[in-house]
Symmetry: D2
Subunit: 375 residues, 4 copies
């Protein structure tokens, strides 16, 4: 191998022009990427560029995708350890390239040892200013928004990071269609009130105000996941909430018993299969309260509750919750959008939306959000 002796290593904190996507603590020494779709973005000249990454985990390894001039060129597992990954070689050194190193897998609430960091860049090029896009969108969701099953064969059944994608994902596609920067807050199995299996600790709203509050344990504490998130640093134009799918499942699954207290939690059905009034009311209250919390922190954003892709049973409750929020707050910058449903033709791995379902959802959602951005 011919070595390129023009390469110089620069710690992230020493790079003049840098853009970080996704919620972080603000630290660049190193940069910890918590959420799926989080990314380091650079504009660089030069013929060659390497990125120094570090990862660890007990169970669920992180994956990254590399985007070069807005086109995905690489996707790979990042195994434990610290190492240099080559992003490009042999390119025209005078031409400026846009690169994004994107975390392809969600924050892993079940693996307290899991993290992904970026330490430094090695290149023979110069860093140029990174252009901000004209719009900002925050997506909040569950496994659908985490891109679970967007990669992999239909018969895959293992719950492993490989099947997750931040790129074959309606969030990435919608943001690209609208020329928007975006962030994602998402977790498979979680809901507004409880998880799919009635666990009230798995509530996205409860963790919304932390940098990445669903990550527990000493490592994540040290990395700052549980710090208060500085909402002022990034105010979106639109917040898309794609939650409710797991809250709907909770009505169909057994009770969850808190091992610490012995208390049992269950969203109940009547004998005729209809939702118990008290329990659907709990969901509605939680949804309305979440809207209040979102408005508290996102002063100017239009709030859009986007629901479906995997069924639509809670839509009436979501409409009631939004009505309640509007009535209580007097705030009218909130609306509901029904996403297209997944079909036999568009299913991916693990019975979750495949890439075709994400493309269809993105096309419809982008059309709807475009109207909001233009109004």
């Amino acid at each position: 191998m011919k070595t390129n002796d023009q390469l110089r290593t620069t710690a992230l904190a020493d790079i003049e022009h840098i853009s970080v996507h996704g919620r972080t603590t603000g630290s660049l020494s190193p940069l910890t990427l918590f959420w799926t779709g989080s990314a380091l973005e650079l504009e660089v000249t030069g013929s060659e560029l390497w990125v120094e990454v570090e990862a660890d985990y007990d169970t669920y390894e992180p994956w990254i995708s590399i985007i070069l001039n807005a086109e995905p060129v690489s996707r790979q597992m990042v195994t434990a350890g610290r190492r240099w990954i080559c992003v490009f070689r042999g390119m025209n050194e005078r031409v400026c390239k846009n690169i994004r190193i994107v975390k392809d897998t969600q924050a892993m609430s079940e693996d307290t040892a899991c993290f992904l960091q970026i330490h430094a860049i090695k290149t023979d090029g110069e860093f140029m200013p990174v252009k901000k896009k004209p719009h900002k969108i925050e997506f909040i969701g569950d496994s659908i928004t985490s891109g679970e099953g967007a990669i992999g064969a239909k018969e895959e059944a293992d719950w492993i990071p490989m099947w997750f994608s931040a790129i074959q994902n309606y969030t990435y596609m919608t943001a690209a269609a609208l020329d928007a920067d975006y962030r994602v807050i998402s977790q498979s199995g979680w809901g507004v009130l409880t998880s799919w299996d009635n666990n009230p600790n798995c509530s996205i709203p409860a963790q919304y105000e932390k940098v990445c509050g669903l990550l527990k344990g000493a490592t994540n504490e040290k990395l700052g996941a549980n710090r208060d998130y500085a909402f002022d640093s990034w105010q979106p134009d639109i917040v898309v909430v794609n939650l409710g799918t797991n809250d709907g499942s909770a009505f169909q699954t057994p009770a969850w018993v808190d091992p610490a207290t012995g208390v049992s939690y269950k969203q109940r059905l009547h004998d005729d299969g209809s939702y118990h009034e008290d329990d659907i009311a709990k969901f509605e209250r939680a949804a309305a309260d979440f809207l209040t919390k979102l408005r508290l922190h996102n002063k100017k954003a239009h709030l859009v509750w986007a629901y479906r892709m995997l069924g639509i049973p809670l839509m009436p409750a979501i409409y009631r919750a939004v009505d309640t929020y509007k009535r209580e707050s007097g705030d009218h910058h909130v609306s509901i959008f029904q996403l297209p449903g997944m079909t036999d033709e568009t299913v991916g791995a693990r019975s979750h939306p495949g890439v075709l379902a994400h493309e269809k959802a993105a096309a419809e959602l982008a059309g709807y959000l475009k109207g909001i951005l233009q109004s």
Copy 2:
């Protein structure tokens, strides 16, 4: 990181059930993958699997894609050195998986130091028999068949391996549609008679009988690239020849002067832009002779000359060449198929066919080949 102490390393040569795609010397100690689309295929149980690869190069690094149960899950550059790459982790150990490690980039005739090898597998699973597919297809071509430009933004202009793909490629797609095993012999810029710039040394037919004859230098010599290829080991049902695009360009580009002899080579045009009779005749003779050579080594294959995607100027000459071959040989198992042309909507990087152009070509070609396989 929790370590999996059940992992055992096995050299390729010691694996009972193994399938290798693409022309090789037959060696598994290690396995050298020469051509794009070449691959190691395994059926394995187990929860985790790693592959030990080794690469080197002066200029053009190899890339690989990983296919799991027929779905692409990873694509990455393989930088110089020998290392373990994790293919999967955390899967159900009792379920058998099909994996393919595919060379995503062509043999690099311009880089005598370039190679990609696979040494060993590390897994906690068992190797199971790999099923052969019911059909075999060989594709022979140039940059189109090498998938140049199938990945990357339209504005990309650098000639680098990153823009090549064996997967976003009509060869892979056609074979998948027909449930066929396949091999690829291809090189950007090369033709039947000469390269795009009139170099007569860049002729695919001249190298066809070697394992990978276009690779030169001591390293490749040692790896066996220049050994006679054992055609008996793999007899295809169909040979697709997608050549002619660069032979057409040779009429439009300046003469090539052999630096060793000072002899000048040029496919000439008349003043009115039509092809010079003598030179088009040379192309036709070369094409007919290539068919003769193909038949010599592929006794039972239907030969299909598939041409277009980037223009169609040599089609009349190709028809004449096939007529000549048929007349001289009495062999009628040869035909010509016009591929769909690339359009502004389907162009990829470097003004080459993008993934949409490959998908369209594969759909049409697979439809045509299906008729041949059924007859």
Copy 3:
């Protein structure tokens, strides 16, 4: 012209096997087709078949489409008078054909002279039993459901029957996809509470219990349009209500003043553009009452309110109305479905959904209704 002397004329009332689609008075002497999508269906052998039609109007002429073996073969204006129209000639006399003569234009509430009748059939074939389809669907709607603009150039601005289609229409397409017989109750500009311009007389619910109550004048009285409709004669499995679009417009248009009483009607907006609570409540009350009326007459049908294609502003009110209806009635066989929106790519004539918008709506709606039919 060679005359076919085997042709025999049979009055509709004398045909043993006949199927009529759409609400009628039951009379076949002649058969009056009131609503768009209404049709005469026959299964006939024979080489040739003619149908005797009669039409009149002051302003809006009727159009028909002819469907042969489920494929549209002809579409034509029916000008005033009584005449024979040839449906087919020269066919294999032994083969049985399915034919449908379909009214392509809506009942014209603005033209009291307009009617379309079928008197007789002339053929050399035999009438065979007409198969009933396994499902029955009723569609209730406005201009979208009347197929306004589904035919014609985008620049067309005249309000004329030519631009209406019962075939390039989501109702026809949805029914075909689900293998269902269907009926349509629809009128351009009408709504649940008022028309697009606040006229409370243009309310579909008010006319729902008559055969075709929105047709006025002596001619229609004689034809039986105002008779009570015999709901027992045809009980649908699903009723799709696609109303609300014009009720939404009423908030944006000037008041309507009843010329008889001088009373002014207006759905009001607040200064900030939000809906006046009293007026949106009136709409909700009307929508809930309509569901009650639908349930009264359609005992076993699942009721689906399908809304969008031309905006979505009343969706929260529709959800509230359905909630109210469910609470008051205890009936849970009712749901809401958001149709895909029309886009710049799918717009037709008169700024209404074109054929592509209808195809997309049908694909989504049919997928949703399929789930209901299977449950």
Copy 4:
């Protein structure tokens, strides 16, 4: 019915601005439309317009399509007799409309009594100048080009005019995509040398120089079908020849015996299924001679032989024929284009290309012809 007393009848010959498409004798008193796709085109203001047509036939009735502002609005059988057909009513009288009355069915060589004529127009509007399109294309073909099977169910087997379409046809679509005026010369079953069943009298080239030479009998003689065609009146930029499909079939069908002479005609196969050299040579000679004839009459046109949709067996012979023509003539403005093949998904009635096959062929052909028009 309210009568429009502003309507005035004008004989075609008295209309100042008129455009006729397709080969005619030049007579407008009346205008006889011979070929499929032939049309009367007008630009008119006014609220209402009627056209007076006359038809007769023994077996095969003509059909027409009506195009209003470039969108098809009506399609109907024209039964024997002379009558007025209403084209539009109730339109804005000040707006100018473009209308085309198009013959939807081919010249019927098997029915000497068949004709379609237009006598007059009745309107309250004014005739405005009709714009010529920037390009002119002539299409020459067989049943594919006649649109046989482009309408109707897949199971249809009767050979009747109903299944023919000039609009759901690659000729209409290609011309529309290229903004071209166009003409069609076509006949089901006919070929270059013989018909599908070896009849040498059914050769398009033999009739090419007459207005519509394949129409026989006294009526057609009187209508001028057999007059020499005035090629000077309309010189195309491109001539597309879509012939060869029936010449290919002739090798597979029994001999045709001339009832007058007892002479037998047969394109022969060898025992191994290959074409007999003498007979394929006859086809090639006929094809080359046809190109010579086309060039004689179309001085400036690029000649394109477009072949496939229903198989490709004669493509090598067509390439040889074009080579022969080029060599003999020195003319290089001729090329060959392979159309996309019909598939199970795109088949229409009578095992012929359906509308999807025509759309695909038009997209590919228009892309190819665009390159020629721009060069």
